[in-house]
Amino acid sequence: MSNSESSGMKIVIKGLGKTFKNGKQETNALTNIDLAVANGEFLCIVGPSGCGKTTLLRILAGLESATSGEVNILRDSQVLPLNTMVFQENSIFPWFQVWDNAAYGLRMRGISREEEQATVSYFLEKVGILEFKDFYPYQLSGGMKQRVSIARAFANKPEILLMDEPFAALDEQNKLILQEELLSIWEQNRKTVVFITHSIDEAVFLGDRVLVMTARPGRVKTIVDVPLPRPRSIEELKGNALYRDLTKQIWHSVKEEVRGL
Protein backbone atom coordinates (compact mmCIF):
# COMPACT_ATOMS: atom_id res chain seq x y z
CA MET A 1 0.00 0.00 0.00
CA SER A 2 1.35 3.41 -0.91
CA ASN A 3 2.15 6.08 1.58
CA SER A 4 0.00 9.17 1.57
CA GLU A 5 2.91 11.45 2.48
CA SER A 6 4.40 11.12 -0.98
CA SER A 7 1.24 11.70 -2.99
CA GLY A 8 -0.35 14.17 -0.56
CA MET A 9 -3.64 12.36 -1.11
CA LYS A 10 -5.52 10.43 1.55
CA ILE A 11 -8.65 9.22 -0.18
CA VAL A 12 -8.85 8.49 -3.89
CA ILE A 13 -12.19 7.53 -5.40
CA LYS A 14 -12.42 6.50 -9.05
CA GLY A 15 -15.58 5.89 -11.05
CA LEU A 16 -17.57 4.93 -7.98
CA GLY A 17 -21.16 3.79 -8.52
CA LYS A 18 -23.79 2.21 -6.31
CA THR A 19 -27.04 0.58 -7.35
CA PHE A 20 -29.52 -0.76 -4.82
CA LYS A 21 -31.60 -3.73 -5.88
CA ASN A 22 -34.97 -4.26 -4.32
CA GLY A 23 -36.55 -7.21 -6.07
CA LYS A 24 -36.70 -6.24 -9.72
CA GLN A 25 -36.49 -2.54 -8.98
CA GLU A 26 -33.09 -0.95 -9.24
CA THR A 27 -32.23 2.38 -7.70
CA ASN A 28 -29.19 4.19 -8.91
CA ALA A 29 -27.87 5.93 -5.82
CA LEU A 30 -24.42 7.03 -6.91
CA THR A 31 -22.85 7.22 -10.32
CA ASN A 32 -19.39 7.89 -11.63
CA ILE A 33 -17.88 9.64 -8.64
CA ASP A 34 -14.28 10.74 -8.96
CA LEU A 35 -12.78 12.42 -5.96
CA ALA A 36 -9.46 12.94 -4.26
CA VAL A 37 -9.25 14.14 -0.68
CA ALA A 38 -5.92 15.54 0.49
CA ASN A 39 -4.17 14.35 3.62
CA GLY A 40 -5.39 16.43 6.56
CA GLU A 41 -8.21 17.99 4.58
CA PHE A 42 -11.61 18.75 6.03
CA LEU A 43 -14.06 18.03 3.20
CA CYS A 44 -17.74 18.81 3.58
CA ILE A 45 -20.37 17.28 1.34
CA VAL A 46 -23.75 18.90 0.78
CA GLY A 47 -26.56 18.00 -1.57
CA PRO A 48 -30.30 17.51 -1.77
CA SER A 49 -31.96 14.86 0.39
CA GLY A 50 -31.69 11.40 -1.07
CA CYS A 51 -28.70 12.26 -3.27
CA GLY A 52 -26.64 9.42 -1.82
CA LYS A 53 -24.39 11.39 0.55
CA THR A 54 -24.85 8.89 3.32
CA THR A 55 -24.38 5.97 0.93
CA LEU A 56 -21.07 7.45 -0.18
CA LEU A 57 -19.98 7.74 3.42
CA ARG A 58 -21.09 4.21 4.26
CA ILE A 59 -19.04 2.91 1.34
CA LEU A 60 -16.02 4.81 2.67
CA ALA A 61 -16.73 3.29 6.09
CA GLY A 62 -16.87 -0.21 4.62
CA LEU A 63 -20.47 -0.66 5.78
CA GLU A 64 -21.66 -0.81 2.19
CA SER A 65 -19.94 -2.11 -0.91
CA ALA A 66 -19.67 -0.22 -4.17
CA THR A 67 -21.30 -1.61 -7.30
CA SER A 68 -18.59 -0.21 -9.53
CA GLY A 69 -15.38 1.77 -9.31
CA GLU A 70 -12.87 1.82 -6.51
CA VAL A 71 -12.09 3.51 -3.25
CA ASN A 72 -8.57 3.81 -1.91
CA ILE A 73 -7.69 5.07 1.50
CA LEU A 74 -3.93 5.54 1.68
CA ARG A 75 -2.46 4.41 4.96
CA ASP A 76 0.11 6.25 7.04
CA SER A 77 0.32 3.42 9.50
CA GLN A 78 -0.26 -0.29 9.41
CA VAL A 79 -1.64 -0.41 12.95
CA LEU A 80 -4.17 2.40 13.06
CA PRO A 81 -7.77 1.70 12.03
CA LEU A 82 -8.66 2.79 8.52
CA ASN A 83 -11.72 4.86 9.37
CA THR A 84 -14.11 5.73 12.13
CA MET A 85 -17.59 7.07 11.66
CA VAL A 86 -19.65 9.49 13.71
CA PHE A 87 -23.26 8.65 13.04
CA GLN A 88 -26.19 11.00 12.75
CA GLU A 89 -28.45 9.12 15.12
CA ASN A 90 -27.77 8.45 18.72
CA SER A 91 -25.21 5.72 18.30
CA ILE A 92 -23.49 5.39 21.65
CA PHE A 93 -24.30 2.14 23.43
CA PRO A 94 -26.99 2.66 26.07
CA TRP A 95 -25.52 -0.20 28.13
CA PHE A 96 -22.09 1.42 28.57
CA GLN A 97 -21.09 4.37 30.68
CA VAL A 98 -19.56 7.39 28.95
CA TRP A 99 -16.01 6.17 29.51
CA ASP A 100 -16.62 2.68 28.18
CA ASN A 101 -18.34 4.13 25.13
CA ALA A 102 -15.46 6.47 24.40
CA ALA A 103 -12.96 3.63 24.90
CA TYR A 104 -14.86 1.24 22.62
CA GLY A 105 -12.56 1.45 19.60
CA LEU A 106 -9.43 1.08 21.71
CA ARG A 107 -10.82 -1.98 23.50
CA MET A 108 -11.82 -3.64 20.23
CA ARG A 109 -8.22 -3.16 19.10
CA GLY A 110 -6.79 -4.51 22.33
CA ILE A 111 -5.01 -1.29 23.31
CA SER A 112 -3.39 -1.29 26.75
CA ARG A 113 -5.24 0.14 29.75
CA GLU A 114 -2.54 2.80 30.28
CA GLU A 115 -2.93 4.10 26.76
CA GLU A 116 -6.71 3.93 27.05
CA GLN A 117 -6.54 5.94 30.28
CA ALA A 118 -4.49 8.67 28.65
CA THR A 119 -6.30 8.80 25.30
CA VAL A 120 -9.85 8.61 26.53
CA SER A 121 -9.42 11.15 29.30
CA TYR A 122 -7.73 13.47 26.82
CA PHE A 123 -10.63 13.40 24.37
CA LEU A 124 -13.40 13.39 26.97
CA GLU A 125 -11.74 16.45 28.45
CA LYS A 126 -11.59 18.02 24.96
CA VAL A 127 -15.33 17.63 24.44
CA GLY A 128 -16.01 18.76 28.00
CA ILE A 129 -17.61 15.64 29.45
CA LEU A 130 -14.80 14.05 31.43
CA GLU A 131 -16.67 14.74 34.65
CA PHE A 132 -19.59 12.68 33.32
CA LYS A 133 -17.47 9.62 32.56
CA ASP A 134 -19.48 7.36 34.87
CA PHE A 135 -22.86 8.42 33.51
CA TYR A 136 -25.07 6.20 31.41
CA PRO A 137 -26.42 7.65 28.15
CA TYR A 138 -29.98 7.88 29.49
CA GLN A 139 -28.64 10.45 31.97
CA LEU A 140 -27.23 12.65 29.17
CA SER A 141 -28.72 15.27 26.86
CA GLY A 142 -28.58 14.84 23.08
CA GLY A 143 -25.65 17.23 22.80
CA MET A 144 -23.67 15.35 25.43
CA LYS A 145 -24.33 12.02 23.74
CA GLN A 146 -22.99 13.40 20.48
CA ARG A 147 -19.91 14.65 22.34
CA VAL A 148 -19.31 11.09 23.52
CA SER A 149 -19.67 9.92 19.94
CA ILE A 150 -17.07 12.44 18.76
CA ALA A 151 -14.68 11.55 21.58
CA ARG A 152 -15.10 7.86 20.72
CA ALA A 153 -14.19 8.52 17.09
CA PHE A 154 -11.14 10.69 17.81
CA ALA A 155 -9.90 8.38 20.56
CA ASN A 156 -9.82 5.54 18.04
CA LYS A 157 -7.20 7.53 16.07
CA PRO A 158 -8.35 6.44 12.63
CA GLU A 159 -6.64 7.27 9.35
CA ILE A 160 -9.77 9.14 8.29
CA LEU A 161 -12.83 10.40 10.15
CA LEU A 162 -16.26 10.12 8.59
CA MET A 163 -19.12 12.20 9.92
CA ASP A 164 -22.71 11.74 8.84
CA GLU A 165 -24.63 14.86 9.86
CA PRO A 166 -23.48 14.48 13.44
CA PHE A 167 -25.16 17.67 14.62
CA ALA A 168 -28.41 17.40 12.65
CA ALA A 169 -30.49 16.34 15.64
CA LEU A 170 -29.17 19.06 17.96
CA ASP A 171 -30.71 22.40 18.80
CA GLU A 172 -29.12 25.52 17.28
CA GLN A 173 -27.02 26.57 20.31
CA ASN A 174 -25.62 23.10 20.90
CA LYS A 175 -24.90 22.76 17.21
CA LEU A 176 -22.83 25.96 17.10
CA ILE A 177 -20.91 25.04 20.23
CA LEU A 178 -20.16 21.54 19.03
CA GLN A 179 -19.05 22.81 15.63
CA GLU A 180 -16.47 25.02 17.32
CA GLU A 181 -15.36 22.23 19.62
CA LEU A 182 -15.00 19.88 16.68
CA LEU A 183 -12.82 22.39 14.88
CA SER A 184 -10.64 22.97 17.91
CA ILE A 185 -9.99 19.23 18.33
CA TRP A 186 -9.44 18.80 14.63
CA GLU A 187 -6.96 21.66 14.45
CA GLN A 188 -4.76 19.84 16.96
CA ASN A 189 -4.95 16.52 15.10
CA ARG A 190 -5.55 17.42 11.47
CA LYS A 191 -7.12 14.14 10.59
CA THR A 192 -8.60 13.82 7.15
CA VAL A 193 -12.34 14.38 7.62
CA VAL A 194 -15.27 13.74 5.32
CA PHE A 195 -18.25 15.52 6.81
CA ILE A 196 -21.78 15.26 5.47
CA THR A 197 -24.31 17.93 6.26
CA HIS A 198 -27.56 19.50 5.17
CA SER A 199 -26.44 22.87 6.42
CA ILE A 200 -24.52 25.05 4.00
CA ASP A 201 -23.46 27.37 6.85
CA GLU A 202 -22.02 24.40 8.66
CA ALA A 203 -20.21 23.17 5.56
CA VAL A 204 -18.56 26.53 4.90
CA PHE A 205 -17.71 27.09 8.55
CA LEU A 206 -16.02 23.70 8.93
CA GLY A 207 -14.64 22.74 5.56
CA ASP A 208 -11.48 23.36 3.54
CA ARG A 209 -13.60 22.48 0.53
CA VAL A 210 -17.31 21.95 0.04
CA LEU A 211 -18.46 19.32 -2.41
CA VAL A 212 -21.93 19.78 -3.88
CA MET A 213 -23.65 16.62 -5.05
CA THR A 214 -26.33 16.41 -7.71
CA ALA A 215 -29.80 15.01 -7.13
CA ARG A 216 -30.08 11.25 -7.50
CA PRO A 217 -28.18 9.52 -8.91
CA GLY A 218 -25.55 11.37 -6.94
CA ARG A 219 -22.54 12.77 -8.79
CA VAL A 220 -20.00 15.41 -7.95
CA LYS A 221 -21.56 18.63 -9.20
CA THR A 222 -18.93 21.06 -8.07
CA ILE A 223 -16.27 21.49 -5.43
CA VAL A 224 -15.90 24.91 -3.85
CA ASP A 225 -12.69 25.96 -2.12
CA VAL A 226 -13.12 27.67 1.25
CA PRO A 227 -10.00 29.80 1.74
CA LEU A 228 -11.16 31.24 5.06
CA PRO A 229 -8.34 31.51 7.60
CA ARG A 230 -8.19 29.18 10.60
CA PRO A 231 -8.82 29.04 13.47
CA ARG A 232 -12.35 30.09 12.66
CA SER A 233 -15.06 31.32 14.95
CA ILE A 234 -18.74 31.65 14.15
CA GLU A 235 -18.91 35.27 15.38
CA GLU A 236 -16.12 36.42 13.08
CA LEU A 237 -17.34 34.51 10.05
CA LYS A 238 -20.89 35.85 10.24
CA GLY A 239 -19.58 39.28 9.27
CA ASN A 240 -17.08 38.03 6.71
CA ALA A 241 -17.90 38.94 3.09
CA LEU A 242 -16.16 35.90 1.64
CA TYR A 243 -18.12 33.61 3.97
CA ARG A 244 -21.38 35.16 2.79
CA ASP A 245 -20.38 34.89 -0.88
CA LEU A 246 -19.40 31.25 -0.51
CA THR A 247 -22.62 30.26 1.26
CA LYS A 248 -24.62 32.10 -1.38
CA GLN A 249 -22.71 30.44 -4.22
CA ILE A 250 -23.15 26.97 -2.72
CA TRP A 251 -26.78 27.58 -1.93
CA HIS A 252 -27.44 28.47 -5.63
CA SER A 253 -25.76 25.30 -6.67
CA VAL A 254 -27.75 23.14 -4.22
CA LYS A 255 -31.00 24.94 -5.02
CA GLU A 256 -30.79 23.97 -8.69
CA GLU A 257 -30.61 20.35 -7.64
CA VAL A 258 -33.46 20.56 -5.15
CA ARG A 259 -35.63 22.37 -7.73
CA GLY A 260 -34.78 19.76 -10.33
CA LEU A 261 -36.30 16.98 -8.24
Partner: protein
Amino acid sequence: MMEERAGQNKKHLVISIMSPILVLVIWEVFSRLSVVDSRFLPPPTRVFVALISTIADGVLFIHMKATLFRVLAGFFCGAVPAVIIGIIMGLAGSVRAFMRPLIIISYPVPKIALFPVVMLFFGLGDFSNVLIVSVGVFFPVLYNTLGGVTGIHRIYWDVAANFSAKGVKLFLTVALPGALPSIFTGLKLGIGMSLITTVVTEYVGAREGLGFMIWFSWQVFSVGEMFVGIGVISVIGFVLTTLVEKLERIVIPWKA
Protein backbone atom coordinates in the same frame (compact mmCIF):
# COMPACT_ATOMS: atom_id res chain seq x y z
CA MET B 1 -42.28 17.55 44.53
CA MET B 2 -40.02 14.64 45.53
CA GLU B 3 -41.54 14.50 49.01
CA GLU B 4 -44.96 14.56 47.50
CA ARG B 5 -44.04 11.59 45.33
CA ALA B 6 -42.48 9.72 48.25
CA GLY B 7 -45.70 10.27 50.19
CA GLN B 8 -47.63 9.02 47.18
CA ASN B 9 -45.45 5.87 47.06
CA LYS B 10 -45.99 5.22 50.74
CA LYS B 11 -49.73 5.60 50.27
CA HIS B 12 -49.65 3.15 47.35
CA LEU B 13 -47.65 0.66 49.43
CA VAL B 14 -50.29 0.77 52.17
CA ILE B 15 -53.05 0.30 49.60
CA SER B 16 -51.12 -2.64 48.07
CA ILE B 17 -50.91 -4.36 51.46
CA MET B 18 -54.56 -3.67 52.14
CA SER B 19 -55.94 -5.55 49.14
CA PRO B 20 -54.74 -9.07 50.12
CA ILE B 21 -55.71 -8.43 53.76
CA LEU B 22 -59.16 -7.37 52.63
CA VAL B 23 -59.54 -10.57 50.59
CA LEU B 24 -58.47 -12.67 53.58
CA VAL B 25 -60.93 -10.88 55.89
CA ILE B 26 -63.84 -11.35 53.47
CA TRP B 27 -62.83 -14.98 53.00
CA GLU B 28 -62.73 -15.49 56.79
CA VAL B 29 -66.12 -13.89 57.32
CA PHE B 30 -67.82 -15.70 54.44
CA SER B 31 -66.40 -19.02 55.55
CA ARG B 32 -67.40 -18.51 59.19
CA LEU B 33 -70.90 -17.39 58.27
CA SER B 34 -71.17 -20.39 55.91
CA VAL B 35 -71.82 -18.14 52.91
CA VAL B 36 -69.35 -20.51 51.23
CA ASP B 37 -68.96 -24.17 52.21
CA SER B 38 -66.24 -24.10 54.87
CA ARG B 39 -65.42 -27.76 54.18
CA PHE B 40 -64.17 -26.73 50.72
CA LEU B 41 -63.01 -23.25 51.59
CA PRO B 42 -61.89 -23.29 55.22
CA PRO B 43 -61.33 -19.88 56.84
CA PRO B 44 -57.76 -18.52 56.61
CA THR B 45 -57.30 -18.91 60.36
CA ARG B 46 -57.86 -22.67 60.05
CA VAL B 47 -55.44 -22.83 57.08
CA PHE B 48 -52.97 -20.99 59.30
CA VAL B 49 -53.36 -23.64 61.98
CA ALA B 50 -52.68 -26.31 59.34
CA LEU B 51 -49.62 -24.33 58.25
CA ILE B 52 -48.23 -24.30 61.80
CA SER B 53 -48.78 -28.02 62.25
CA THR B 54 -47.15 -28.93 58.90
CA ILE B 55 -44.20 -26.76 59.85
CA ALA B 56 -44.04 -28.31 63.32
CA ASP B 57 -43.95 -31.91 62.10
CA GLY B 58 -41.44 -31.04 59.35
CA VAL B 59 -43.70 -32.25 56.54
CA LEU B 60 -43.95 -28.86 54.86
CA PHE B 61 -40.17 -28.47 54.84
CA ILE B 62 -39.67 -31.82 53.09
CA HIS B 63 -42.19 -30.95 50.39
CA MET B 64 -40.83 -27.43 49.97
CA LYS B 65 -37.30 -28.69 49.60
CA ALA B 66 -38.30 -31.19 46.91
CA THR B 67 -40.29 -28.60 44.97
CA LEU B 68 -37.66 -25.87 45.25
CA PHE B 69 -35.00 -28.24 43.97
CA ARG B 70 -37.08 -29.16 40.90
CA VAL B 71 -38.13 -25.56 40.24
CA LEU B 72 -34.57 -24.24 40.41
CA ALA B 73 -32.89 -27.18 38.66
CA GLY B 74 -35.50 -27.12 35.90
CA PHE B 75 -35.19 -23.36 35.62
CA PHE B 76 -31.40 -23.42 35.20
CA CYS B 77 -31.33 -26.47 32.92
CA GLY B 78 -33.95 -24.81 30.70
CA ALA B 79 -32.90 -21.16 30.83
CA VAL B 80 -29.14 -21.53 30.27
CA PRO B 81 -29.34 -23.42 26.94
CA ALA B 82 -32.28 -21.22 25.90
CA VAL B 83 -30.21 -18.04 26.33
CA ILE B 84 -27.22 -19.55 24.51
CA ILE B 85 -29.24 -21.00 21.63
CA GLY B 86 -31.40 -17.86 21.45
CA ILE B 87 -28.38 -15.61 21.05
CA ILE B 88 -26.77 -17.91 18.47
CA MET B 89 -30.04 -18.01 16.53
CA GLY B 90 -30.28 -14.23 16.76
CA LEU B 91 -26.76 -13.76 15.42
CA ALA B 92 -26.64 -16.43 12.71
CA GLY B 93 -29.38 -16.39 10.10
CA SER B 94 -28.55 -19.92 8.95
CA VAL B 95 -28.88 -21.36 12.47
CA ARG B 96 -32.15 -19.47 12.82
CA ALA B 97 -33.45 -20.97 9.58
CA PHE B 98 -32.39 -24.45 10.69
CA MET B 99 -33.93 -24.25 14.16
CA ARG B 100 -37.14 -22.35 13.37
CA PRO B 101 -39.26 -25.25 12.08
CA LEU B 102 -38.23 -27.50 14.97
CA ILE B 103 -39.14 -24.86 17.50
CA ILE B 104 -42.38 -23.85 15.84
CA ILE B 105 -43.50 -27.49 15.77
CA SER B 106 -42.55 -28.29 19.35
CA TYR B 107 -43.59 -25.03 21.00
CA PRO B 108 -47.39 -25.52 21.03
CA VAL B 109 -47.19 -29.05 22.47
CA PRO B 110 -48.21 -28.87 26.14
CA LYS B 111 -44.98 -29.95 27.82
CA ILE B 112 -46.87 -31.91 30.44
CA ALA B 113 -48.27 -34.07 27.64
CA LEU B 114 -44.73 -35.37 27.15
CA PHE B 115 -44.42 -36.37 30.80
CA PRO B 116 -45.64 -39.98 30.30
CA VAL B 117 -43.13 -40.39 27.45
CA VAL B 118 -40.33 -39.06 29.62
CA MET B 119 -41.34 -41.39 32.45
CA LEU B 120 -41.28 -44.34 30.04
CA PHE B 121 -37.66 -43.58 29.32
CA PHE B 122 -36.39 -42.40 32.67
CA GLY B 123 -38.89 -43.76 35.16
CA LEU B 124 -40.33 -42.06 38.17
CA GLY B 125 -37.91 -39.67 39.80
CA ASP B 126 -36.43 -36.19 39.95
CA PHE B 127 -34.72 -36.56 36.60
CA SER B 128 -38.02 -36.92 34.73
CA ASN B 129 -39.61 -34.01 36.59
CA VAL B 130 -36.65 -31.70 36.06
CA LEU B 131 -36.40 -32.64 32.39
CA ILE B 132 -40.01 -31.70 31.72
CA VAL B 133 -39.71 -28.52 33.76
CA SER B 134 -36.62 -27.43 31.87
CA VAL B 135 -38.38 -28.02 28.55
CA GLY B 136 -41.22 -25.82 29.80
CA VAL B 137 -38.79 -23.08 30.83
CA PHE B 138 -36.78 -23.36 27.62
CA PHE B 139 -39.36 -21.91 25.23
CA PRO B 140 -40.33 -18.58 26.79
CA VAL B 141 -36.66 -17.86 27.53
CA LEU B 142 -35.60 -18.84 24.01
CA TYR B 143 -38.26 -16.72 22.29
CA ASN B 144 -37.50 -13.67 24.38
CA THR B 145 -33.75 -14.03 23.95
CA LEU B 146 -34.11 -14.42 20.20
CA GLY B 147 -36.41 -11.42 20.04
CA GLY B 148 -33.95 -9.49 22.17
CA VAL B 149 -31.06 -10.10 19.80
CA THR B 150 -32.97 -9.52 16.57
CA GLY B 151 -34.53 -6.39 18.10
CA ILE B 152 -31.18 -4.70 18.71
CA HIS B 153 -31.19 -1.49 16.67
CA ARG B 154 -29.19 -1.70 13.46
CA ILE B 155 -27.14 1.35 14.37
CA TYR B 156 -25.34 -0.58 17.13
CA TRP B 157 -24.34 -3.32 14.68
CA ASP B 158 -23.07 -0.61 12.32
CA VAL B 159 -21.02 0.94 15.09
CA ALA B 160 -19.60 -2.45 16.06
CA ALA B 161 -18.77 -3.20 12.41
CA ASN B 162 -17.17 0.20 11.99
CA PHE B 163 -15.00 -0.46 15.05
CA SER B 164 -14.19 -3.96 13.75
CA ALA B 165 -15.79 -5.74 16.71
CA LYS B 166 -15.89 -9.47 16.02
CA GLY B 167 -16.51 -12.79 17.71
CA VAL B 168 -16.51 -12.85 21.50
CA LYS B 169 -16.06 -9.07 21.71
CA LEU B 170 -19.07 -8.48 19.48
CA PHE B 171 -21.07 -10.91 21.58
CA LEU B 172 -20.10 -9.32 24.89
CA THR B 173 -20.43 -5.68 23.81
CA VAL B 174 -23.52 -5.74 21.59
CA ALA B 175 -25.49 -9.00 21.41
CA LEU B 176 -25.60 -9.87 25.10
CA PRO B 177 -26.16 -6.43 26.65
CA GLY B 178 -28.58 -5.49 23.87
CA ALA B 179 -30.66 -8.60 24.48
CA LEU B 180 -30.51 -8.55 28.29
CA PRO B 181 -33.73 -6.62 28.97
CA SER B 182 -35.65 -9.05 26.79
CA ILE B 183 -33.81 -12.04 28.29
CA PHE B 184 -35.01 -10.98 31.74
CA THR B 185 -38.59 -10.81 30.53
CA GLY B 186 -38.09 -14.39 29.39
CA LEU B 187 -36.57 -15.39 32.73
CA LYS B 188 -39.52 -13.98 34.65
CA LEU B 189 -41.94 -15.91 32.43
CA GLY B 190 -39.65 -18.93 32.84
CA ILE B 191 -39.88 -18.80 36.65
CA GLY B 192 -43.66 -18.93 36.42
CA MET B 193 -43.50 -21.73 33.89
CA SER B 194 -41.07 -23.63 36.10
CA LEU B 195 -43.40 -23.48 39.10
CA ILE B 196 -46.47 -24.47 37.11
CA THR B 197 -44.76 -27.40 35.41
CA THR B 198 -43.10 -28.60 38.62
CA VAL B 199 -46.37 -28.70 40.54
CA VAL B 200 -48.23 -30.48 37.76
CA THR B 201 -45.52 -33.14 37.41
CA GLU B 202 -45.67 -33.63 41.18
CA TYR B 203 -49.38 -34.37 41.00
CA VAL B 204 -48.67 -37.59 39.16
CA GLY B 205 -44.96 -38.31 39.24
CA ALA B 206 -43.65 -37.76 42.75
CA ARG B 207 -43.87 -38.92 46.36
CA GLU B 208 -42.64 -35.58 47.69
CA GLY B 209 -43.19 -31.95 46.76
CA LEU B 210 -45.87 -29.31 47.17
CA GLY B 211 -47.75 -30.61 44.13
CA PHE B 212 -47.84 -34.06 45.71
CA MET B 213 -48.89 -32.49 49.03
CA ILE B 214 -51.82 -30.71 47.37
CA TRP B 215 -52.88 -33.77 45.43
CA PHE B 216 -52.56 -36.12 48.41
CA SER B 217 -54.44 -33.70 50.71
CA TRP B 218 -57.22 -33.60 48.16
CA GLN B 219 -57.43 -37.39 48.08
CA VAL B 220 -57.68 -37.65 51.87
CA PHE B 221 -59.87 -34.56 52.05
CA SER B 222 -57.40 -32.65 54.18
CA VAL B 223 -58.47 -29.32 52.77
CA GLY B 224 -56.49 -27.14 55.19
CA GLU B 225 -53.21 -28.72 54.10
CA MET B 226 -54.25 -28.40 50.49
CA PHE B 227 -54.53 -24.64 50.92
CA VAL B 228 -51.21 -24.57 52.77
CA GLY B 229 -49.61 -26.13 49.67
CA ILE B 230 -51.28 -23.63 47.34
CA GLY B 231 -50.31 -20.70 49.56
CA VAL B 232 -46.69 -21.78 49.86
CA ILE B 233 -46.41 -22.15 46.07
CA SER B 234 -47.65 -18.63 45.52
CA VAL B 235 -45.19 -17.32 48.12
CA ILE B 236 -42.33 -19.19 46.38
CA GLY B 237 -43.41 -17.69 43.06
CA PHE B 238 -43.48 -14.22 44.57
CA VAL B 239 -40.05 -14.59 46.18
CA LEU B 240 -38.37 -16.02 43.06
CA THR B 241 -39.86 -13.38 40.77
CA THR B 242 -38.75 -10.65 43.17
CA LEU B 243 -35.25 -12.12 43.23
CA VAL B 244 -35.07 -12.12 39.43
CA GLU B 245 -36.28 -8.51 39.41
CA LYS B 246 -33.60 -7.54 41.93
CA LEU B 247 -30.98 -9.30 39.81
CA GLU B 248 -32.32 -7.50 36.75
CA ARG B 249 -31.76 -4.13 38.39
CA ILE B 250 -28.18 -5.09 39.23
CA VAL B 251 -27.36 -6.56 35.81
CA ILE B 252 -29.11 -3.83 33.78
CA PRO B 253 -28.17 -0.57 35.47
CA TRP B 254 -28.55 1.43 32.27
CA LYS B 255 -32.34 1.38 32.24
CA ALA B 256 -33.82 4.54 33.63
